[in-house]
Symmetry: C2
Subunit: 344 residues, 2 copies
């Protein structure tokens, strides 16, 4: 059974495998460098629906249904679903999961939701509380833009620090069995707020949370950045990445050699006009499920730290002059499970 390492980290003692996973996206994601790795692409970002919110539900459903299918099971085989998204009252997830009939726990972790849902899924699976869990999240450029910034029709200018919300979704099914990729450990994040108030600079608001969680993880596990093939943050983008590198350097835990950010992987920044990079719950989720998990499955990657980051403000809190609290949850994902002799 999972044991606590220090204050923040839980080390899994039994092999939790991600037995099915899928990524869904739309045209801009298909045109990016990772487009060919997505499971489901619908070039029409309405997904045949009459509103952007319904489109996001349809998008998340694509990823969920595909992940369940790839796991070789049916919704009735899943004991608990954990999901959330950026929309007010998380309607992208709730309306998407409405027909599934799976016991449902709604989450709100902003863009950290893929890590939050997957870490809870892994813990509930490892302890035997659930035989199989489903973790899912999504974001949609058009539903996010009009909710957090301006109506699309306004055609507002974007600042150089702004990021482009990914129209994407990811879903993972966990089970207690052999088979890469595995979840080895998780670190639950703390709320970090360095006083950033610029809603067009999410990367800067989230970098301190990624920094805190990484420091907690390295401290708790007594490991170093060089022990991992890849340290993958969720959606810090260009600005947040630079700030995180600086913070990690100052803490003598430099990650520049093996760090990548999903927000910088998913689009070609020079050709796709996304300014500081991609963002949104669907950014970390779709990059993980399209590009990273297959490499962990076949062994091209052995040990990955996945840290999805979230900015926990609302348009209301920002208008009221509040700063933006950041949040980052971490999973150590691997090709081998280290405790192969543990009871299963």
């Amino acid at each position: 059974m999972a044991k606590r390492l220090g204050r923040y980290t839980l080390q899994l003692e039994r092999p939790v495998s991600i037995i099915g996973y899928a990524a869904a996206g739309s045209r801009k994601e298909a045109q990016g460098p990772l487009g060919k790795y997505f499971d489901c692409i619908n070039e029409d970002s309405t997904f045949g629906e009459t509103s952007w919110e319904k489109a996001e539900s349809a998008l998340q459903k694509c990823a969920v249904n595909k992940a369940i299918k790839k796991a070789g099971i049916t919704p009735g085989d899943i004991d608990i679903m954990l999901a959330g998204d950026l929309l007010n009252q998380c309607i992208g997830s709730t309306y998407g999961a409405r027909q599934l009939g799976i016991p449902y726990l709604g989450l709100y972790g902003a863009c950290s939701t893929m890590a939050e849902s997957l870490l809870l899924a892994a813990l509930l699976t490892e302890t035997g509380l659930a035989n199989r869990c489903l973790a899912a999240t999504s974001s949609h450029f058009c539903s996010a833009e009009r909710q957090f910034r301006f109506p699309l029709e306004y055609g507002g200018q974007r600042t150089p620090t702004s990021q482009w919300t990914v129209t994407g979704a990811g879903a993972c099914v966990t089970a207690l069995q052999s088979g890469a990729p595995y979840v080895q450990a998780v670190t639950i994040g703390t709320i970090e707020d360095y006083g950033i108030c610029d809603i067009n600079n999410m990367g800067a608001a989230m970098a301190p949370a990624a920094f805190a969680t990484l420091c907690h993880y390295f401290h708790d596990t007594e490991t170093l950045p060089s022990d991992y093939d890849l340290i993958l943050t969720g959606d810090l983008g260009m600005i947040g990445t630079q700030l995180l590198h600086q913070l990690m350097d100052e803490a003598k835990l430099s990650i520049t050699a093996n760090h990548k950010d999903c927000g910088l992987l998913i689009y070609d920044r020079l050709k796709q006009d996304v300014h500081a990079g991609g963002s949104g719950c669907g950014c970390a989720a779709s990059v993980l499920c399209s590009y990273i998990l297959p490499q962990l499955q076949d062994g091209r990657l052995q040990n990955v730290l996945f840290i999805a980051t979230g900015a926990m403000m609302s348009p209301t809190s920002v208008q009221q002059g509040e700063s933006i609290p950041g949040m980052a949850h971490l999973l150590h994902l691997s090709h081998y499970f280290e405790k192969e002799d543990a009871s299963c």
Copy 2:
């Protein structure tokens, strides 16, 4: 360790005690029949803050700090905090928890959040993943009213089926130790949607979810409504209560003899002009933490089913003509722990 009973229910095998709990409210709650049981009352519903959203954060902080104090611990003793609320992006909870430094998992379960947070806290505690967890939620009439319905200044007429959002918060600290009240079992809810589209009739939208969860629980545990002193729903109000009684009667599981609803307990409907009753995350949370847990602690109540219900729509989804999905999570709370011989 907790074991699965059927598809929906988890029976705890080790004694998870609610070692600290507190309820906070404002003037209207103080004037209600349960006002004298609240831990913290601030007659000024601004809580000294400059916006209703900040007031809600302050309100939740009152309940959280008091629950931690009553448990005889400090925030540093808590391994995981689980919280959420009704506000867009759950800012009531995030901003309230910002200074605590506790590893944080954000939830969205609408008005079911007290049950969702407490059931996850109980499971994480029972399995030893956390030594102590904190579960919290809140709602505020003024922040909810302007977000979900009309600006307060508009002075809109309320329909007879409408409910009054409770300005209240509740918080519970869990630990694996002896001492009532205990969490005996939990049932995770499914999303239920009977096609109700009236945003002023939340009770009708949530009753089917309470019905489904109660049926799942009675089926999984092979118990009957008469096995419990009290079956306590969250905030069905008058309409939802009538509908739930009807559904349970039709299923031959009548609960009329021992059912109460927090939405009907918290205010005096005849004197306080709340129409169909109270509602909001803070309704179930503050009634549980002020009025029910003390009775479970001293033995006046022995066995209680607590079912907090949530309506998972957003103003946007309702404006788009979508129906309102309901959600209900259940906890079996008790004065004695049945498996006293289990390893601890």
